[in-house]
Symmetry: D2
Subunit: 119 residues, 4 copies
């Protein structure tokens, strides 16, 4: 169980204490989300047959956790600013995807079917 | 309160029913997270002085919620695969940021200081 | 005029000298392209009504040029690996967009129409 | 050889004919660049040991060329708006990288060293 409301309040206080609300438009927070997602990807960008990222290496693990945290923090801020309930929209999307990707048609198929998204 | 464990179990079942686990390496899920973050950004990419996205327009709102849901869903999958506790790493990162961006030095400053991240 | 072939040869030599070809699959180079595009976006992510990035500030300008260079370098590598002619595909896409966004229907419209892309 | 100046003029005309200049701030074009880079990544996001993208499949090839074209088109627009010479900044960055990643220290090393970028 995650206390999202408490986390969002902590972030609201963090932002207000620094007078950063003026910079936290939905569009800016979504830009920052993309930047952080890119930093998480950077840790895996050169993964190859002979070079697998060791996610258990303590230094690598810390970097991964920090970038995942940044993505989550911005996602919480975006949901807060836009008054979106993360659990509700996730469940609604999963339901939509279950209809879009019926088990029998999707089984083991990566192309076009291995996707949670609408794109 | 979000029941993350339950959401992650629902997603695990969704993936296993479709035999998609073979495609859901951490690196692939992080790639998908970036793709979905980009689709969320796309909804705001042309925002300008004379063109502000109406986040209350029902059609736009639905698109925003769907993309936020996709980002959250992949983040939940990534955390599940890497055994990362989202709330714990978020609180640890906020603490780190509070030390990195002391109120007195950061107040109202966007450049270099308006950032939750390490980069 | 840009001598793309010469630039791509310089990059090929750079990669071969370091035995990095093993890491430069199309997918990895496309991941790196996304990471660099994110770093370019980071320089503008907090832009707001009261905070416009000064692209003429020498330090900011150098960062912008370095990130644009990184994006271009990876794009050249991707085109080289996939044997894609950048000028040809750009002209073909512009032609396609001209049909997709006829002047009379697109004039001054941002939503749906202010886009070079298919998405 | 690519006639960048001509391509940029074609794009300038395309944008002016549609009165889109108002939407093409550097920040917006950089956002669009990120969105298109994500769409290119999407084509490869599920690549796995047992699922390699067939870049020679005509339909896949067309999608790849279209997305590469979109990235290049926005990069040309960004360089035009910011008056950045793509070839000059690329050569300057390659020189910088050659000093940052000396052959003897970088040979065959992916982590930290397999990167053209400063990050």
């Amino acid at each position: 169980m995650i206390n999202v409301e408490k986390l969002q309040q902590v972030l609201r206080d963090f932002v207000n204490d620094r007078d950063w609300e003026q910079f936290h438009s939905p569009r800016n927070l979504i830009s920052a989300l993309n930047v952080e997602a890119g930093e998480l990807l950077e840790l895996f960008q050169w993964e190859s047959k002979n070079h697998i990222v060791d996610v258990n290496d303590p230094e690598t693990r810390q970097k991964i956790e920090d970038e995942i945290a940044d993505v989550f923090i911005y996602l919480l801020r975006i949901a807060d600013k836009l008054d979106v309930q993360l659990e509700d929209v996730a469940l609604a999307k999963i339901k939509k995807n279950a209809e879009k990707y019926p088990v029998e048609k999707s089984k083991g198929k990566a192309v076009k079917y291995t996707d949670f998204s609408d794109s």
